[in-house]
């Protein structure tokens, strides 16, 4: 997973997350939107055949209360916790 920041201001961040697709990006976006201080979060991917920018670009806009990069880190932690709690709940039922 290679990260490359394409745009960065105090309350806005665009970051390329190489090697990922909708499977992870959509989960991550969903986790970001659950965050209280996030105003907007979205990602954009182009098909592989289209040439040019084919890696997903995640854009985060905060309400100013938090650094976007920190929010991204928190979202990654959230996704990780979601995955482990899901697995634990599943294994408990199985």
């Amino acid at each position: 997973m290679e990260l490359r920041v394409t745009e960065s201001t105090e309350d806005e961040l665009s970051i390329e997350i190489a090697g990922e697709d909708h499977t992870f990006m959509n989960v991550l976006k969903g986790a970001l939107l659950e965050h209280d201080d996030i105003g907007a979060a979205t990602y954009d991917v182009n098909p592989e055949q289209s040439g040019g920018q084919t890696e997903p670009i995640l854009t985060i806009k905060t309400d100013g209360g938090v650094d976007p990069l920190e929010a991204l880190e928190e979202a990654a932690v959230d996704v990780r916790e979601k995955a482990t709690t899901f697995r634990d709940a599943f294994e408990a039922a199985a």
């Binding site: 989960v27 990654a76 996704v79």
Partner: protein, 249 residues
């Protein structure tokens, strides 16, 4: 953030399962589904060396057929991505070569189904080949796709609103999936997917239960259903951890 997930099995066999998950967001449910299809590595034949092939099909056609045979996938940690296991096949006509004729060099990697016909051999025809397997993800080739027809639907809640008016014909109301009636989970196949069979003469209202998804997963035999779900969750966890570390740098 601590979420409460609740998992409940509705139907379960070795290769097929239907289970309800409560408390997941649609995004996460879809992530799990996509990870099951494309991100869980399975073993499959990738390179075939033909010693003799006098059958009616070309080498590359047979190599494709061999590749599509599901193989049991070893437990996590036994193999890493570049390890190979060699299987050999030697069948002389008149006979049919089956997937069960593949002889593996490793007990952990065996054909999951023994009676898939590979090629029909006539008199004097012979197939002798060695095949190398690789551990790969479904993203790269469909033969590495462990989950088959993995999907989910909302859990539906049924509510009896009223009786059908006296002079009105009863209409069938088709629904597929699993319904919830007073906390009881009922697969719609129990009443032929028609609510008018279960609630004759009643007017019914259906609604999706928010954040409750009924997954239906089948596997090709590479591993049991439970395994593919937990491994899919693990791939998402691994990527989240990777991102977390990458952001910290």
């Amino acid at each position: 953030m601590t979420e409460e997930y609740d998992v409940e099995f509705v139907e379960r066999t070795d290769r097929e399962a239907r289970f309800l998950v409560r408390g997941v967001t649609p995004a996460f449910a879809n992530g799990i589904r996509r990870a099951m299809l494309a991100d869980v590595p399975t073993m499959a034949i990738d390179t075939v060396r033909f010693v003799e092939n006098s059958s009616v099909m070309f080498d590359e056609q047979l190599a494709l057929r061999l590749g599509l045979v599901p193989l049991t996938t070893p437990p996590v940690g036994e193999f890493v991505e570049d390890d190979t296991v060699t299987l050999s096949i030697d069948v002389e006509g008149p006979a049919t070569a089956y997937s069960g004729d593949l002889v593996s060099s490793d007990d952990l990697v065996q054909p999951a189904d023994d009676n898939v016909p590979i090629i029909d051999l006539k008199d004097d025809q012979r197939l002798e080949a060695e095949a190398d397997t690789v551990l790969e993800r479904g993203k790269g080739h469909a033969k590495h796709q462990g989950a088959v027809a993995a999907g989910y639907r909302h859990l539906q809640r049924v509510e009896v609103v009223d009786d059908v008016p006296e002079f009105e014909d009863e209409q069938s109301q088709i629904v597929r999936g699993v319904i919830e009636d007073d906390g009881e989970l009922i697969p719609t196949s129990e009443f032929d997917h028609d609510l008018s069979n279960r609630y004759p003469g009643k007017e019914i209202e259906l609604e999706d239960v928010p954040n409750a998804f009924v997954f239906h997963v089948e596997t090709d035999g590479s591993f049991p259903v439970e395994e593919i779900v937990t491994r899919a969750a693990d791939t998402i966890e691994a990527r989240a951890t990777e991102l977390e570390e990458a952001v910290q740098l």
